[in-house]
């Protein structure tokens, strides 16, 4: 029952947003078509900019997987990971997602490509990646811009929130997709 509602909201959220945005734009007499083209250009730029990062990370993680490293780690941590229902392939994602947005996107693509888009690993990673921001990048940019040297409790708060995000992602994915 709850799952049906969640699926319904998931399916309708994007069309509803598109509709609201377009209707609002028409009412406000915005040239919606030209504005769309303008924004789409930015979108193309984003994906071109991201390509070198994707190559760097996808190649590195593909190498890591092919090397059998995950099999070794799996044997080492099998007990804990099994108990938490966390696939070993998600481990690097947990650490990198706070450091680099393009890197974590590369790792996620690699997982989706390797396990298929509808596998549990891919869905868990999708939630983990989609719900996070790159904490250390944000810290550097925002505090760097005004010359703050002492982060005080901001750093700890960011790290705690990241950990809660990982736990929540695992919980929600287990609840809905396992």
């Amino acid at each position: 029952m709850i799952k049906t509602v969640i699926d319904l909201i998931s399916a309708w959220l994007i069309p509803v947003i598109i509709l609201v945005v377009l209707v609002w734009g028409i009412i406000k007499r915005i040239p919606v078509y030209e504005t769309f083209i303008d924004g789409a250009k930015d979108g193309l730029k984003v994906s071109v900019d991201i390509l070198p990062y994707l190559i760097a990370i996808i190649v590195a993680v593909s190498m890591l997987r092919a090397s059998g490293f995950f099999d070794i780690t799996q044997q080492l941590f099998a007990g804990v990971l099994d108990w938490l229902k966390i696939p070993v392939d998600v481990l690097p994602v947990m650490f990198v997602r706070s450091l680099s947005g393009s890197a974590v996107l590369g790792m996620f693509s690699e997982i989706a490509n390797n396990f298929g888009p509808d596998s549990y690993v891919t869905k868990l990673t999708a939630i983990m990646v989609g719900s996070s921001e790159t904490t250390f990048y944000v810290l550097a940019v925002y505090f760097g811009s005004v010359g703050i040297k002492k982060f005080r409790h901001a750093l700890l708060a960011g790290i705690f929130a990241d950990i809660i995000g990982i736990i929540a992602a695992v919980g929600v994915a287990r609840w809905l997709f396992l």
């Binding site: 699926d7 909201i9 998931s10 399916a11 959220l13 994007i14 598109i18 945005v21 377009l22 734009g25 504005t35 769309f36 083209i37 303008d38 924004g39 789409a40 930015d42 979108g43 193309l44 991201i50 390509l51 994707l54 760097a56 590195a60 593909s62 190498m63 090397s67 059998g68 490293f69 070794i72 990198v96 680099s100 890197a103 590369g106 693509s109 989706a112 298929g116 888009p117 509808d118 999708a126 939630i127 989609g130 719900s131 996070s132 921001e133 904490t135 810290l139 940019v141 925002y142 005004v146 703050i148 002492k150 005080r152 700890l156 708060a157 960011g158 705690f160 929130a161 809660i164 995000g165």
Partner: protein, 204 residues
Amino acid sequence: MNYIWFLIILVSILSAAYTGRISDVVNAVMKGAQTSVEVALYLAGIMAFWLGIMKIAEKSGLVAFISRLLTPVARKLFPDVPKDNPAIGDIAMNFSANAFGLSNAATPIGIKAMKELQKLNKDKKSASNDMCTLLAMNTAGWQLVPATVIAVLVANGSKNATEIVFPTLIVTTITFMSAIVIVKVLEKFSPAQKPEVNQEGDND
């Protein structure tokens, strides 16, 4: 990131030496590079479409409208900011732009808010409580639709990529709420700021 990247490759080659799968690793280099280009190509279409729609939200004032609705909440979260200070509006705008996935718009507004908060800060080298709260809001990054993630799923042949939309929304909401609570709790234990004396003078 330099060390992490280096470490991943180093560990791969060492593990391959241990497991005897070095030829698999070499093949992975070729295949990985090819996959990256494919992913970026697919990503281009969906990202372009989504950012096109979001540009309309920005230009038509929808983002600004939502941030006006959020202003009273922002005032509660940033108690040290005086009434009518531009920082509050910037903070609400920063949140709304993030929510719509307009990170190119969100970051400059967020930095502007940070600069306004810096003007109110008594120790220019150390973050004020309000600055930490703004940062927590941004590191937790609440987002309505994870467009990039959906794009990657579609690029890899997902039949039902939007399935993860609401679950992700649940998780991002939990994380965001926790970040606010955590930063407000830690504020109580954080060492107090020292007002600057005889250093660079007062900036006001």
